[in-house]
Amino acid sequence: MKRGLALLLAVVMAAGIFLAGCGNKNENQSVQSTAAQSNAAQSEQSSKTDNSNANVTVTPQLIGDKNAKTEITWQPVPAHSMMDSNQAKVEYLTKKAKEWAEKHPDVKIVPIQTTIAISDSMAKILVQAASGQAPDIAAIDSYIFPNFTKYAQPIDDIVQEKNLDINDWFPFAQNVMKPEDKILGLWYTTDVRALFYRKDIVKNPPKTWQELLDLGKQLKGQGYDAFLYSAGRDENVTMNTLPYFFGQGGKLVDDNGTPVFGEGENRAAMINYINFLKSTVDTGVTPTRVLNFKSDPNMNADLAAGKVAMFVGVSNMAAQLRSVIADKFDELWDVAPIPMAEADQRASTAGGWVSTVFTEDDQKRKLAADFIIDMYVNDQGMEGWCSAGGYLPPRKSVFEKAEFLKSDPFAQKFKEELQFAYVRPAANIYPTISQEIQIAINNVLAGQTTPEKAVDNAWKIVTSKK
C-alpha cells in the first residue's frame, strides 16, 4: 500500500516537473516576445545590411553580445525597465538599447530586475553599496539619494563630453545631482502632483480647503465619492499630501538637515495640514477606505467605477487612466492646482528618479554613464523616454522643445505646477520623518488621536533618532 503511494507520488512529482518545465519554456518566450515584436521590423532591415552585429540581442535579461568582454550590471526601477507591462515603454527601451549595443559591440549590459517595493529595494542597494557590491549603475529614488552620495562615483567628465549642462536641469534636481562640487547622479524623470477633477461634475475646481469641503459635502449628497487621495502607509502618501504643508510655508528640516517640523510655525502648519485631511474624512467628503490606498493606482478601481469627482494624484496618473478608461479620460477629466489653506498660496511636490554610477572601474564608469545618458538623459533620450512613459522631463530645454508636450494640454498644466513644486529635503533623516508623517496621518484619520498629539509624537520619535 505504502509502496504504491510512493510510486504515485513519484509519478505526480515527475509530472509536475515536466509541466513546470514546459511552462517555463513558454514563459521565456513570452517575456522575450515583446522585445522581439518591437524589434521585428527593425531587425528585418538591419539584418540585411549589417551582419556584423548579428550577436547583439536585446531581451529584458541581456543587452548586447553575451560573449562581450565588458559586463555592466544595471539595476533600473521595474517600471522603467523592459519588464514593464506598458508596451510603449518597452518598445522605446528595446529600440534604444539595441542602438547602443550595436555601437558598443564589446559591452554587454545585464539588467537586474528588482522588487517593486521601493523603500525596501533602496535599503538593499544601500547595504550592497556599503559592502562594495552595488550594481555598476542603478536607479535611485530621489528622496533617498542623499544616503547614497558617499558611494556614488562622479561623472562630470562624461556629462561634459556629452554636451550636457547641469544648469539645464530644474533647480530642485541640480541640488540633488550635485550636492557639493561633483555631479553624482543623473535625474532622468520627474513628476508633479495636481488636483484631478471631473469636468462634468465639478464646474469650478476648488482653490482652498474650505471650498473643497463645501463642494465635497454637496457632491457627497449627490452620491459621489467627492475627494480621494492615498492615505495608507507609503512614501507616496507623504509625497501627495506635503503640498498642503509646503503651501503654508512649512519646513521639514533646516539648511543643515536638522528636523524643524515640530517647532513653532512649522508645527502649526503641520497640524493645520493634518487637520485638513481629518476634516475631509470627518465630513465624509473622503471615504475612510483611502487608508488602504498606498499608491495612486490603488484608486483605479474607484475611478473606473465613475463615482469619484476629484482626487489628488501624481502626473503620470494621466497616462495610467488613459490606459484604464481610454478616451473617456480626456473627455471627462482635467487638472487644476492643489487646493491650499489660503487662496493666495500655491504648492505641489516633485519627485523622480536619479541614475547613479557605483562602479569604480574607470572604463565601466564611463560606459555606464554613457548608456544611461543615451537611454534617458540626452535630448532624444529624454524626450523619447518621457513621451513613452508619460513622465515629465527634468531638463528645462527638453520641456521647451519636446513635441509630445506641446500637444498635450495636461502636460502644459503639469509644467506650470512644476514651477510651484517643492522637493523632499535632501537629508538623511527624511525617510524617518516621512514614515512618522504617514503614521500620524493614519492615526488621525482612523480617529485614534488628535492632529496635535500625532505631530508631537512624530516630532518626539524623529528627534530621538539623532
Binding site: 523603500s119 535599503a123 495608507g232 475612510t288 478601481a301 503614521i439 493614519n442 492615526n443 482612523a446 530621538s464
Partner: protein, 305 residues
C-alpha cells in the same frame, strides 16, 4: 531477542572505527547550524547594542537602541497589539481545531459521508503560503461597495464594517485571517491526539452511563492534554513569528495598529534603515522564542517521565 544476538550486539558495541563516533555523522548538521543559525544569532545580538544604520559602515556600541525602544510609547502599543493578536489567534485556533478534530474523528467512527471532504477542506490552508492568505483575506475585507463580506454583513443587517481601516477592527480582522491560517495545524495535532484515546475506556464509560459531556471532560480532554499543551506552545511561537500574512493583509496599518513584533523589526531595518534598533526588536523576538522553547522542553520532559 535470542541469546546469540545479544552476544553479538555486545561484541558490536565494543567495536571501534570511524563509523562509531558520531562526529562524521553529525558534522554537516552542526556546520550548517553553526554558520546559518548560531553565528547570525550572535551577530544580531551584537548589532542590537550598536547604533548601526543601513548604508553606514561605521558604528559604535551603545545601549541606546534598547533605551529608546523602552521609552517609545509606540513600542508598548506594538507589544499590546502583538499580545492581542497572538492570544486570540492561538485560543481560537485551538478551540476550532479541537471542535473540528472531534467531529471528524466522531464522523469517521460513525462512517459519515463527507468526513474526508471536511478533513481535507480544513487542512487546505496549510498548503497555502501566508502571503497569499493575506492577499485573499484583503480581497474578502474589501471596503468598497464591491466587497463581499461587507455585502453579506449589510444583507443581514450588521451594516458596513471598516475591516482594515479602523485601528481596532483591523487587529481583529488580522486575527481572524490568522485563525483561518493556523486552525489546520491545531486540528491535525489534536486529531492525531484523539487517535490515541483508548477506545475501551470510552466504551466502558459509556456502558457505565457517563454522558457525552462527561466523557469529553473526564476522558477525552485529559488524555489529549499533553498534545494540547504542545500545540499551544507551537502555535504561540508561530504566531509570534508571523510576518508574511500581516504584511500583505495590512502592511502594519492603519498607522501602527497591526504592526506586530516581527513586522516591526523588518520595518525599522528595511524602511527606516535603523539596523541597531531593528536588531533590538529582533532580539526581543529571539528572547520570546527562547522562553517558549524552554517551556516546550519542560513540558516534553514532564510528559516523558
Amino acid at each position: 531477542m535470542s541469546r546469540e544476538t545479544i552476544g553479538k550486539s555486545n561484541r558490536l558495541s565494543g567495536r571501534k572505527g570511524l563509523g562509531e563516533t558520531p562526529i562524521p555523522w553529525l558534522a554537516p548538521l552542526v556546520i550548517i547550524l553553526l554558520t546559518l543559525f548560531i553565528y547570525p544569532m550572535f551577530d544580531i545580538l551584537r548589532l542590537s547594542f550598536t547604533n548601526a544604520r543601513i548604508g553606514e559602515t561605521e558604528y559604535n556600541y551603545t545601549f541606546n537602541s534598547f533605551l529608546n525602544l523602552f521609552q517609545d510609547s509606540g513600542f508598548y502599543a506594538m507589544l499590546k497589539v502583538t499580545a492581542f493578536f497572538v492570544f486570540f489567534s492561538v485560543v481560537f485556533q485551538m478551540v476550532l481545531g479541537f471542535i473540528i478534530a472531534l467531529s471528524v474523528d466522531k464522523g469517521e467512527s460513525m462512517n459519515l459521508r463527507g468526513t474526508v471532504f471536511v478533513r481535507t477542506v480544513a487542512l487546505i490552508s496549510m498548503v497555502i503560503p501566508g502571503v497569499i492568505i493575506g492577499i485573499i483575506w484583503r480581497m474578502m475585507y474589501d471596503e468598497s461597495p464591491t466587497g463581499i463580506l461587507n455585502y453579506f454583513l449589510t444583507l443581514i443587517g450588521v451594516g458596513h464594517v471598516r475591516f482594515l481601516t479602523d485601528p481596532f477592527i483591523a487587529v481583529v480582522s488580522a486575527t481572524v485571517a490568522n485563525v483561518w491560517r493556523g486552525t489546520a495545524q491545531s486540528m491535525i495535532l489534536l486529531y492525531s491526539g484523539l487517535k490515541t484515546v483508548p477506545g475501551e475506556t470510552l466504551e466502558a464509560a459509556r456502558v457505565d452511563g457517563a454522558s457525552a459531556a462527561g466523557r469529553l471532560f473526564k476522558i477525552i480532554i485529559p488524555s489529549v492534554m499533553p498534545v494540547m499543551l504542545i500545540n499551544l506552545i507551537l502555535n504561540t511561537i508561530y504566531t509570534f513569528n508571523t510576518f508574511d500574512m500581516v504584511m500583505t493583509l495590512t502592511g502594519g496599518g492603519p498607522g501602527r495598529s497591526t504592526e506586530v513584533l516581527a513586522l516591526s523589526a523588518y520595518t525599522q531595518i528595511f524602511q527606516l534603515l535603523d539596523l541597531g534598533r531593528g536588531s533590538s526588536v529582533a532580539v526581543l523576538l529571539l528572547l520570546i522564542n527562547s522562553i517558549m522553547a524552554a517551556v516546550y522542553f519542560y513540558i516534553m520532559k514532564k510528559s516523558e517521565v
